[in-house]
Symmetry: C2
Subunit: 102 residues, 2 copies
Amino acid sequence: MTVKLVVLYTQPADSAAFDEHYLGIHVPLVHKIPGLQRFEAGKITAALDGGEQTFYRIAELYFADQAAMDAAFGSSEGAATAADYGQIAPPGSRMFVEIVDG
Amino acid sequence: MTVKLVVLYTQPADSAAFDEHYLGIHVPLVHKIPGLQRFEAGKITAALDGGEQTFYRIAELYFADQAAMDAAFGSSEGAATAADYGQIAPPGSRMFVEIVDG
């Protein structure tokens, strides 16, 4: 039963500065999180529903189960990643837990 | 350069009825779409940011590139899936294109 942390980043004021911090500092922190099974991230390029392009980036962190995710964010590496998220996430960014269909 | 269609379904009025249609009819239609490389879907169980649990489900359809995605939704199978999406997606559901970081 795979569990994912899904992060939806809203549009940053300065996307070049955001990407520099995100790719250079934040993603390396994510990869240090214990129990992380897979990381996938990317840029939103279009809203297909005719609505606003609300989000700039999506990031997905995969864990074996909820306990592994809880342990991950209880670790010092998880805390460092969360603190850095607080530095970079534009207002209105969202963070959800998803249980992947088995 | 993987391209994903990311669908965020808002909370349905009747989640049991939604799941019955989604899993029984919609997902089988998705799997018929030509060029689909991977499909991943799951249920949102929590909002970790203290905000509203805006979304009920996330679905991600992976394609080799933008041209493959365009061809997929230009096909009759893609059109059938899009029509069925129109039947089930609760108001406010969102649909984005994401280019996965290489």
